[in-house]
Symmetry: C2
């Protein structure tokens, strides 16, 4: 689908940024639902610039270090809006290696299943805490501002997803323990 380009266009639609800045955004703000390494971002920026969807100016940091500051063009904005209004099919495969592992965990001793579940729960709890902090940072009511409101909705989704995931893992652990005690 070429989703990466729209992620970049979306970010540049909010503010001008360098490839380095974009990389940071993918590592922090977007990390929750999209990811890209700089090795993927730089070539995509080049392609986008070649197609005229973005443009850049060179800025000098210090005395010599060149920094390319990208901005979205009018054509870029049109492309972004077109994508943003497209009905997306729910991706049927949100690949989840842990669920796959749990699915086949019948081939390991029951105790080890618990040993797999517990660190997963810890990881998801840590993520949940982090997302809750971010959400709290946005205020207690949905923001008025359009961009902040979008952020709020997505963050809310992250919190709810992780709450549900933690609840599931806790339930799994409880069920596994009951089962162990019964036998």
């Amino acid at each position: 689908m070429g989703t990466l380009r729209y992620a970049i266009l979306g970010l540049l639609n909010r503010r001008d940024m360098s490839g380095y800045d974009l990389t940071k955004e993918f590592e922090t703000t977007l990390a929750e639902f999209w990811g890209a390494k700089h090795s993927q971002i730089y070539p995509e920026l080049k392609a986008l610039a070649d197609e005229g969807l973005i443009a850049y100016q060179i800025e000098i940091s210090g005395t010599v270090l060149e920094k390319k500051v990208y901005s979205i063009t009018v054509r870029g904005r049109t492309a972004l809006r077109t994508w943003a209004e497209t009905q997306l099919k729910m991706k049927s495969v949100p690949k989840d290696e842990f669920r796959l592992q749990l699915y086949f965990s019948d081939c390991i001793p029951p105790r080890r299943r618990i040993a797999l579940l517990e660190p997963q729960l810890e990881q998801h709890r840590a993520l949940l805490d982090h997302l809750r902090e971010n959400l709290a940072g946005l205020g207690q009511t949905p923001p008025e501002d359009e961009a902040a409101f979008s952020d709020y909705l997505v963050l809310l989704g992250g919190v709810m997803r992780e709450e549900s995931c933690c609840a599931w893992l806790e339930r799994c652990i409880a069920l596994c323990r009951e089962r162990l005690e019964k036998q």
Copy 2:
């Protein structure tokens, strides 16, 4: 990571299957958390056989149609168990194009945001119904059998995830409507 091979080994550990059967499994049972097309499965089967982790026998359907029925070998079982006991890092990026779209939905009119949310909710509700049926099919209490118990845990996770997702989408729609009315 080469996860596909373990998905195949896991399936063959339950029963002998042809490439075609495996493809069907990926489309049905595993569809919830993993996916693979036949164009990926057939080459992987060849590699797995070359490495001695699986073996196959040729069966004839009808008069001429050759069918390769694969079975897991002792070495395959060892490889599967090793993977099945490995602590997995939570994949930090469960890529979700819809959340990305919603995140950047500040560039479209508020009404269209609702128009994006509603079909998503429909799709997730349909999936939830489907998963609930599957879960009901497994009985009302966690199964005794090891394999069925694993299936149960994963299915439970699918139902909880989709419940949470639907609740989120409903909340988003409600918040968007409130916002529209206020302005």
